[in-house]
Symmetry: C2
Subunit: 202 residues, 2 copies
Amino acid sequence: MNLPNNTIARICKVFGYLNSLEDTNFISSKELALAIGTTGHTVRKDISILGITGYTRKGYDVNALKNELGSKLNLNKKRKACIVGLGRLGTALLDYEKFQKDGFEIVAGFDNSINKLERIKTDIKVSADIYMKDIIKENSIELGIITTPSKVAQEVADKLIDAGVKGILNFSPIKIVVSEHIIYQEMDFTNSLRFIAAQLED
Amino acid sequence: MNLPNNTIARICKVFGYLNSLEDTNFISSKELALAIGTTGHTVRKDISILGITGYTRKGYDVNALKNELGSKLNLNKKRKACIVGLGRLGTALLDYEKFQKDGFEIVAGFDNSINKLERIKTDIKVSADIYMKDIIKENSIELGIITTPSKVAQEVADKLIDAGVKGILNFSPIKIVVSEHIIYQEMDFTNSLRFIAAQLED
DNA sequence: GGGTGTGAAGATTTTCACAGCA
DNA sequence: TGCTGTGAAAATCTTCACACCC
């Protein structure tokens, strides 16, 4: 099935929200809409596109919905990730608890400064860049998170891809060029501020 | 003029890219497209919607384009921002050089742990939460960046808005509810990984 | 009554095709 | 020739309206 990109994005948010719920059995499209910032219509449509149905007058069964969304979008599977670039941002992400909770396991960190590697306090194994390929292969790491300076980001991405990573989340503020089959996503903080600024009145 | 959201997002990226260029006088829609991950058609359309024109066979004059985009989208104006929540992520952002370069000035940081405040090494003034309102007003801070734990994020947002902030960038992984006139943007790391995972083949 | 499910209408966005120009 | 500029066509996405159900 070829889902609209926006639908995928919204469903991901819904899934995350469902994950955060406790002691809730049923939830309406309206509540979901509120949680992710859209309308009930849209949520119902998205869910219906996936062929999932709820209960009239009660809404959706939280656990069932979570399961079904997860299986439709492959979100139930645990994924291993690594972080390249262990500056402040990189080390902050190393221990970002939310990842674990949501099924993403950070299993390795890399940096090419031995100095940095020695000073980092974390339970996660951190290594020099030269071991990247081996460690990624050994651990079947599927996702690479790039938190290096911009100037080496492309090079790092190439290495990650060469090592077998399938998806890349890039925190460095430049666009990385990746081959067709790699899933690529950017997090550009400055650009987000810019996007806000562009919508301010004056 | 009421611009499509996607157009705004793309133009923001184009603007950021132009900012990063040095020694380039003219640039084609195709090059811009490559840099931001879209097509030349789309870039030309976006620029044309804004009423900006380039030069046939040469492309767009980099400086002129930067200026015009900036003035159409209010990106030439410097904006002041503050960061609330000085954990690892917050402190990483305090010194994120890219902000300065792109016209965003972080002028204050807040945390409610005196302990943390004392240990932070930075040139930026950091204060306890109770001073937030005063400092934001005094400095005419327009943007608030939230890097607190989720459970206090809404409360912090309310305080920021009460203090007069116009835009909020939320790094905590929950949706914050803000009134209509506040520009709100989320950065949810886990969700980005999820979005990647949802597009992986198996 | 208060929720879902969904085809169809409507709105928006993207893509295309080609004129125009240096 | 190689690039912009743009109306029009195509594609996509969102919203609506209403049937249906507990």
